[in-house]
Symmetry: C2
Subunit: 699 residues, 2 copies
């Protein structure tokens, strides 16, 4: 990419950001847009329509920034939950790391880089078109001792990041325990999901579960809710509902012929109801929510092998009631397994398909190549402004749009993997999106410059560092543009909420119910990978081309204010995983560190400084050992609570006055919403009631 292209990109995006900010600060004050910009406040009754019109409403103001800045972490915790706090801490962690790395980069490495003259010696490089490279490591002379400063910087940043990671992991782990200790009794703390329940002939699932748990957990067992297969019952339910509305219509317009028909229909309804009842016993899935009298009792049932056949009586922590993903209860052991295998193949397929836009992007950044493919475009392409837009802005726009659709796709794939809660699905999708981004944005972009066959490159393992060392610095300006486009603009558009805003504009005329709106939930699987990927870019480039860091810092500052604002005004937490996203963040930061060290290894080999090359070797080993230690030290805390904590909490509950009432209501919390009993025909009153199946408490 040529430098003017980069500048064009920065200019366009800066302008877009300003526009978004201005528009937002005006539009958010219009009561008609409260649904878009403050649905959460509206739902809480905090956003009220002003009585009088102020001219102030039409001026852009920055008051919202202050409002987003002011609340403390504890306020955020009590308002949006621990997951939101963890999310914000990813941003502050990145800010801390890149302030330090940026300081080293700008004030130490850039002067060193500029003092070299490797690029001047190589006459065949057109300096004017690559002037950014003067600030990069490429300009340091081969074999120069000043490369030791770069090595020192890599060591220093590795150590700083490890210390910060350790501190952060420890902090979030303690927050997680505190959060649990200060939480009110919640149904999911007392409940487990049992799957693959063995049922003897002539016995029901409910009986099997009750027998098993009253025998093996007599002191703590409380109640059981058996899960039902949705699809078939749904079909019948829908049929009944259709029939029901037909009858209703008939009653409204009574005439003799139709009354006869009505009798026939009511008979049919009775039959169907019978079949629903029979079907319910038949359609019990071999899974059940089992509740216990204490958290410790539930934890014991989760951690111990229950039956002598380890594929039966599988136990896991129940998700929060509102977090349960009802459509997918693949109850058999083999079913879950097969769906897992299918998911792996789907992911591979999606990854390969998405290489196509990446290669288009690569083609655009190499205009010369494009000209050879499409000679007819030559006249247009040689226009300066066109070439600048094409090389600077267009590639990133294509990438950005194609990447926008990846998180929903990955979530769709994850939902087929047999997870029983939305939070698990989003966590799994988060993993998938991270690796997809690293693979398809970073590696595909970096390496396709040298070869199109990515897989074959990665098979030749020992050549990777040197290949990265050649290609990564060459893509510095591309990724600066990426930070500016995808980082700045897409974050500002997150503030502006382009799609919901446009949707509300379109729906306004045709929407009759004015007070209907939904409070969206935060899409962690979309935004966490984005932030982590910018972190990866920062690590990969901070010692190669430190010029990227200021742009990154700008992004993180933007993200800090904007996401805080959105968490406070727009999104309501749908579930609370109590910080379970942090291990994902930790792992991918470690990956970024090791990638940085590999690139350093390759660079020092390339720059002919063998001693520095061997001096980098201990770094990945130390980093991975550190990671291993953290896995053992902190990860178990994110998997389960300790005996100590559980017992303390259970003891504290003895003094909680509503406890008996709470225990009675637990099983009602896990009622499958699609499966509440329907009694339409029994009394004719029902026919006038709205068509909402009422939930009954079972067990």
């Amino acid at each position: 990419m040529i430098i003017s292209g980069l500048l064009t990109s920065v200019a366009i995006n800066f302008a877009l950001c300003i526009i978004f900010f201005t528009l937002y600060s005006i539009l958010r004050k219009q009561p008609g847009n409260y649904k878009v910009y403050a649905p959460r406040l509206l739902a809480a009754g905090k956003a009220r329509r002003p009585r009088h019109f102020h001219f102030n409403r039409l001026l852009p103001t920055a008051g919202w920034i202050k409002n987003a800045w002011l609340p403390s972490e504890d306020d955020l915790l009590s308002y949006s939950g621990l997951d939101a706090v963890v999310f914000m801490r990813i941003i502050t962690f990145s800010l801390k790391v890149f302030c330090i790395a940026g300081f080293i980069g700008i004030f130490i490495l850039i002067p060193v880089n500029c003092s070299g003259n490797q690029l001047h010696d190589m006459d065949y490089i057109n300096i004017s078109n690559n002037s950014l490279e003067v600030f990069s490591i490429s300009n340091v002379n081969n074999g120069s001792d000043s490369l030791w400063i770069h090595l020192g910087a890599v060591y220093f940043v590795t150590i700083v990041v490890c210390c910060l990671l350790y501190k952060e992991y420890k902090y979030i782990a303690s927050k997680r325990i505190d959060y649990f200790c200060s939480s009110k009794p919640q149904p999911h703390q007392f409940t487990i999901l049992v799957s693959n329940i063995p049922v003897r002939k002539g016995n029901t699932v409910r009986n099997s579960v009750e027998n098993f748990f009253t025998e093996n957990h007599p002191a703590t067992y409380l109640s059981t809710v058996v899960v039902h297969r949705k699809s078939k019952v749904w079909t019948i339910t829908n049929a009944v509902e259709n029939l029901f509305s037909k009858i209703k219509n008939f009653r409204r317009v009574p005439n003799r012929h139709q009354y006869m028909h009505l009798d026939h229909l009511e008979q049919k309804l009775n039959e169907m109801e019978g079949s629903v009842r029979i079907d319910k016993s038949r359609e019990e899935v071999r899974a059940a929510f089992v509740s216990f009298k204490s958290r410790y009792g539930a934890a014991i049932a989760i951690n111990m092998l229950q039956g002598n056949n380890p594929t039966q009586w599988l136990t896991e922590q129940a998700p929060e009631p509102q977090d349960v993903y009802w459509p997918f209860f693949s109850s058999t052991f083999m079913g879950r397994w097969i769906s897992k295998l299918t998911v792996i193949f789907s992911c591979a397929f999606v990854t390969i398909v998405f290489l196509i836009p990446v290669f288009i992007v690569q083609g655009l950044t190499n205009l010369a190549q494009l000209e050879t493919y499409f000679p007819s475009l030559k006249n247009i392409l040689t226009m300066k402004i066109v070439s600048q837009v094409i090389t600077g802005y267009l590639p990133n726009l294509i990438l950005q749009v194609s990447l926008k659709i990846v998180p929903p796709i990955m979530k769709g794939i994850s939902s087929q993997q047999g997870y029983i809660s939305v939070s698990e699905i989003e966590r799994s999708a988060c993993h998938k999106v991270i690796w997809f981004t690293v693979w398809n944005v970073f590696f595909a972009n970096v390496l396709s410059a040298s070869a199109f066959s990515l897989l074959f490159i990665l098979l030749e393992f020992k050549d990777i560092p040197s290949k990265l060392a050649v290609s990564v610095p060459a893509q510095a300006s591309f990724f600066i543009a990426y930070v500016v486009t995808t980082g700045w603009t897409s974050t500002s558009s997150e503030l502006f909420r382009v799609i919901p805003f446009v949707a509300s504009l379109i729906c306004k005329p045709c929407n009759r119910k004015k007070n209907e709106f939904t409070v969206p939930s935060f899409r962690y699987h979309q935004d966490i990978p984005k932030i982590l990927f910018f972190g990866l870019l920062g690590f990969a480039y901070f010692f190669l081309a430190p010029l990227i860091i200021p742009f990154l810092l700008g992004y993180f500052c933007l993200a800090y204010i904007i996401y805080r604002n959105q968490l406070l005004n727009v999104y309501a937490p749908r579930y609370e995983s109590a910080g379970k996203f942090w291990p994902v963040v930790h792992d991918s930061t470690i990956f970024s560190l090791v990638l940085m060290q590999f690139i350093a290894f390759g660079i020092f080999t390339l720059k002919k400084l063998p001693h520095a090359t061997s001096a980098t070797l201990p770094l990945p080993i130390i980093t991975l050992l550190f990671n291993e230690y953290c896995r053992k030290r902190f990860l178990p805390i994110f998997m389960a609570y300790s005996t100590e904590t559980l017992l303390k909490k259970d003891k504290a509950d003895q003094y909680y006055p509503d406890m008996p009432q709470f225990l009675e209501q637990i099983s009602a919390a896990y009622q499958d919403p699609a499966l509440a009993p329907m009694v339409y025909s029994a009394s004719s009153d029902n026919l006038r009631e709205p068509l909402i199946p009422t939930a009954q408490v079972r067990g």
Copy 2:
């Protein structure tokens, strides 16, 4: 290797076997050799010196074979434990598999192989020297359709082995549960080992443990035994003992001057005793055996995360008291970790060092090469008998001797890995020896023919099948000789117990205490890898060169009788892991299967039958999925007992009359034998007692 060399080897080894059998059947009847050939019977008082001399004693008889054959599996179970049964089942499993594979190999594949004429077409191969190859797959014509029969055989054997493996895993898992259910209450079932105990300042380890468990497991906690560091206390103990014997000597020869000296010494003794007492409180290691009132209580403490810091309060099942490996209680979390890393490096080092004898062996099998290196040996080497011994017998002898010392080395390495029981050490050593054997005997021998640099071969992953396809059939006769030498002879020498026999001969004249002898324990880590390796050879060769199977079957029959005999007469079980060796066997059989499939893949590529090549591809995938299923289905049973089983057993114990007494004695079982309190000076009576520290029951 030339065919006459192979015949020589078979002849020598057959003769050796006959000699060993004859000698054994005579020597075992001499009362002087009871210590060597029936120490277990002797210890049980079942082997009595005959009153009169019978001439029969000097004749070889085969009565012992009948005695070894007759006992049923249940007899063996009650006499030698479940581990011995599992060991014998490895042999019977191999016998079953190779009877089927041998039938296919001999009656289907050999006729097919012989009908080909690939080798006749290639004039440059000297048939007379390679006549064994006529029976092997090398003789089948390239592209011949009869290779599909080989593919069918590979499929058939894979399916048969998977079925047998599943059946066997299921059988042993059920045996394991039965064994547990029928066992008497044993201390280790009620006890856990807690390590990395956090201790506050001014508190002892004992207090910390007692506080923690009385608070968190009030209903089930029973008692605590804190572990002490051995080395330093041992030093002081030895010093006290020395001093004590000095005083004793002085008292025997009383005179005035010495009495004064004696006073001085007694004063010193008092001081030292004080220091031992102080030292004991200081030398508490942060590990303790904690006992519970029920098995279920202990299991809960093992499976649950105890403290909020997952590196503290680590819990694991306690080993049987006699199985505890006292010298190594690396109590810190980091200590265990570092020792694990060290062990990995030591293993790699040992593996590399042992490549040297392998290459010597390779040199010997290629005599021509040896002649070029040492021209002066030419005259000797051209003598027929010398060349036959050198190519046929010597290489295997070298391998056998060098492999003999590997199991003890691996056990030594494993003992530094932080395991706290001998059984775990031996199981870990078993793993190490298996991989060592596969690597250094199979791969090194097979591949060194084509290249010395093994590592580089394995880095080029995709070439492995074709390389194996070329080199594995070429080594068929070498491995037949290996089966005959290492298999037949070393198993017969196991019967004859060469080293203990020679040792007893040497010791007899200088051994005063005639009745002293030790009952050895079975070295599972030495014999299981041997059997598994022969299994691997069988799988690798059954469709390449089926001629190896009869030799293998001979070996397994020998092994069946001999090991049964030894388990009944010689070895006493030192510990009972209740079948925990079986998962090792399962995994390595799966490895052998996949290796066979890889070789098949390579062979079909080499033989230019592309459809057959692609038809082998599903095989490893199916096999690995099968393995994954078995891991989930059976492995957890070998890790822990289920709630169901534990509660059933605990309930049954309520009717066991000695239960209260048993619970009282549990903590005494885990007394560190080196650490019993010493009170020598308190009463002068003690001075006349023998110097055996008496064990006191604590806690």
